[in-house]
Amino acid sequence: MLGFLKELGMYFILLGKVFKRPDKGKLFRQQLVFEIDKIGLDSLGIVVIISIFMGGVVAIQTAFNIDSPWFPVYSVGFTVRQSVILEFSPTIVSLILAGKVGSRIASEIGTMRVTEQIDALDIMGVNSANYLILPKVVAAMLINPLLVIISMFLGILGGWLASTFTGLVMSAHYIYGIQLDFSAYDVFYALVKTVVFAFLITTTSSFKGYFVKGGSLEVGKASTRAVVQSSILIILFNLILTQMLLA
């Protein structure tokens, strides 16, 4: 328990160093563009693949499970839309990004720590936490919602492709279903979750990397811990935010 509280304290002290005004605005902007490319555009491929298949699987499962005359056929489209927007795109995509982006951040910063590159920054008088972590946090909080919006679109498209190509649902019924009772607030809720998850992924992973002690073995362990803890936090905050925003 004492260890947990100590770690929590170190996390908030680190955040205090991260959220300071950057030493040089121009360098911060350069780093931000670089991180948007690394965190966002490099993750686009996996988000596209996962989203299309995720939507397709939800559509097929729903179609098979509502094989009853009491359920209208258009409910396949409705269920796919609701599942993808409310849960699958923001949460599953964030969990995937926690693995991909979180491990990259923890190992990158951890390697910089064990090879004394962070010490070199500190000795120069650079706020190393701010210089290294802030662009990653801001980049993820800007680009992840965009990835999730793309994921929502592709998930629903994947559901349509799976439904119509397998002949389970007619295209017109599916399109009717995805338009039924649409609430923009659901998208807002999903994007709020995504921004919070992006913050959790980048700060947790950076924290794990920043305080690595030892060598390459410890960097690997920190990277694993970053992914595990980010994923647990995403699941925990998913519950909290859902209760706060939907209940």
Partner: protein
């Protein structure tokens, strides 16, 4: 000048530095020597503020570093160049960007002037046509030279080196030693080198501090260290067969 006054540093129950006091003079190559685990690296990390001392003072030209706040320390740190054991070059930046990094961070020079300064610093360490290479493409000695170039980019008043010769062959070690010595004299820098390489001590050491079990055990110059009666210093200096033969 850098002065270390009565500093103590512990890690848990391990009392690493015990009442260490020393002064490191401007325009001279000051060396901290001692066995592995004697507290040399901890001392140099305390001097630059990477470790907080438990008690005592570190003074940079009459400015007490230990009692400064973050902003004041930041201003002093801009005057410090540091060469790390593993060079600590930024992997994601090429040589030019590495040397230019402190200039980008702390100067408002136009880009052309920065490139001129980078080329001047690389020229000082005898490196040519390496500007676009990444650290992974450099040899150990080249990495150290790039790190020296980066350390002197902002015209530092103080240059601190943590085992600059570790992992280098004897010829490259001498080259690095001479480079540091030349830069120290030319720019009148206060240089502190942490090493256990006796060859470096004899080659370029103007002032030597011997640390033994966390205490300042002996001080002198490179001639005095070869003729001292101090047992611990002699055990360290003449530990190798080569040095024993030279003594005979």
């Amino acid at each position: 000048m850098i002065e270390v006054k009565n500093i103590h540093k512990s890690f848990g129950s391990n009392h690493v530095l015990k009442d260490v006091s020393a002064s490191f003079e401007q325009g001279k190559v000051n060396m901290i020597i001692g066995q592995s685990g004697s507290g040399k690296t901890v001392l140099i990390k305390c001097i630059v503020g990477l470790h907080e001392v438990d008690s005592g003072h570190i003074v940079f030209d009459d400015r007490d570093f230990t009692s400064m706040d973050y902003k004041q320390r930041k201003n002093v740190r801009k005057e410090i160049g540091m060469l790390f054991q593993g060079a600590a070059l930024f992997d994601s930046l090429n040589v030019e960007e590495n040397v230019m990094f402190p200039l980008n961070m702390f100067s408002d020079m136009p880009r052309e002037a920065k490139i001129d300064r980078v080329n001047f610093c690389l020229d000082k360490v005898n490196l040519e046509n390496v500007n676009k290479l990444f650290p992974s493409e450099l040899s150990g000695g080249m990495k150290k030279r790039v790190a020296i170039a980066r350390a002197i980019a902002l015209n530092p008043k103080y240059l601190l080196c943590d085992e600059p010769n570790s992992g280098l062959d004897p010829r490259t070690s001498i080259l690095i030693d001479n480079l540091i010595s030349e830069i120290t004299k030319e720019f009148n820098i206060t240089t502190v080198i942490n090493t256990h390489d006796m060859n470096s001590v004899v080659e370029v050491g103007d002032k030597i501090a011997f640390i033994f079990r966390g205490q300042l055990w002996w001080e002198g110059n490179h001639l005095e260290i070869l003729n001292t009666d101090n047992k611990e210093v002699n055990d360290f200096v003449y530990a190798t067969e080569l040095m024993k033969k030279i003594k005979k």
